[in-house]
Amino acid sequence: MKCENIILLIHKKIEKKLTLNEEELLNKHLDECSVCQERVALLSKMELLLKKERASAPSNFTQKVLDRIQDKEPFFLSERISHIFFPRWQLVPVAIAVLAILVLPFISKRQKVIMVRFELQLPSAQVVSLAGDFNNWDTQTCKLKRQNGLWAVELPINPGRYQYVFVIDSKEWLPDPKAKNFIDNGFGSKNSVLDTTRL
């Protein structure tokens, strides 16, 4: 059998696909052909080298990946820790709370309801909800949604004057520093005030 036909059999041998008959043919040829013997040896050694010679990632590899992720998403790792330890007064400077009041005239003028968009820039929070006079201070139902670290919710609000706070991770109450007015809440901190009649 010619070497050019044996090449296929050697390939099959490496891929462990030889039939008994083919194996016999191959062995017979190898007994007589040193070139093909060397070919078998080459492929076997190549397979072994590729399988066994392995490089490992540097020891600080994972940290570097996380650092790069954090660069793009600044509060990646810190967010789960910070909300546990930060006292409320520290949350205030961290948070760039914006009450962007997008006074979109509501479709029906008769209802005189306006849509108010509440925004809070606080990527370190896990859950942010809104509690105020307009929802009976329910801290659970009115959750803000996070998009790129910015928490936001839009609510239809009847005309009136309301006190409200952001509730961070179900425990920290955070007044909106950008609100136009604040009022003492009787517990040593302040509530933000939204007066839609003055908008």
């Binding site: 994972t62 570097k64 990946v65």
Partner: protein, 194 residues
């Protein structure tokens, strides 16, 4: 939370539900495999580190697109192949510009260097010269054959898995491996003639 080691899928669902720092566990689990494969494909430890970081960065960014029926490691291989291919093309292009001479390169024909430094097989079944000779031979293969062979032998993957990772039909995967083998075997006869 988990009785045994959490699976990749369990980790991914935790990350997607907001526990992003769990991603460190996923990176730790797969970093050596990806680094080793990329090191094979680039032949350069520094390139391998940069590219592997890019792989995990991109995987993180696209985690929402990961299909649960897919194997996470295979998905990483796909990302690794794409990034490495682009990286080598760019590098080769810059090399051509830098040398100010046009090297004829057919699509994927990019030179592979011998891996610079890595763990060697302890029982010296393969002598140092032989090892270098084998790497030199691999270097001469077209990249498209080499990549398939690396997935096959470095990662011990089936034709079906390689097909999923590369997007090539299974028959093409097998053909590339055969052609790679054939080219290597033909180099042996050339050597004999000389």
């Amino acid at each position: 939370m988990f009785q045994n080691e959490p699976s990749d899928l369990e980790l991914i669902s935790l990350i997607l539900s907001g526990q992003k720092d769990v991603y460190a566990t996923l990176v730790n689990r797969h970093k050596d495999t990806i680094f080793n494969l990329v090191n094979r494909m680039t032949g350069n430890l520094q390139d391998a580190e940069d590219i592997s970081q890019d792989v995990f960065l991109q995987a993180y960014k696209k985690l929402k697109e990961f299909k649960l029926e897919y194997k996470f490691s295979n998905w990483l291989y796909t990302i690794a192949l794409n990034i490495t291919r682009n990286y080598l093309r760019k590098k080769n292009f810059l090399k051509i510009i830098h040398l100010d001479k046009l090297i004829e390169t057919e699509d994927d024909e990019i030179q592979l260097e011998i891996p610079a430094k890595e763990e060697t097989i302890e029982d010296t079944l393969i002598k140092k010269e032989e090892r270098e000779q084998i790497y030199q031979m691999l270097k001469k293969l077209p990249v498209k054959y080499k990549n398939v062979m690396f997935l096959r032998y470095v990662e011990n993957l089936s034709y079906k898995e390689i097909s999923q990772i590369t997007g090539l039909p299974i028959g093409t995967v097998e053909t590339y491996i055969f052609r790679g083998h054939k080219l290597l075997m033909e180099m042996v006869s050339e050597k004999q003639v000389k």
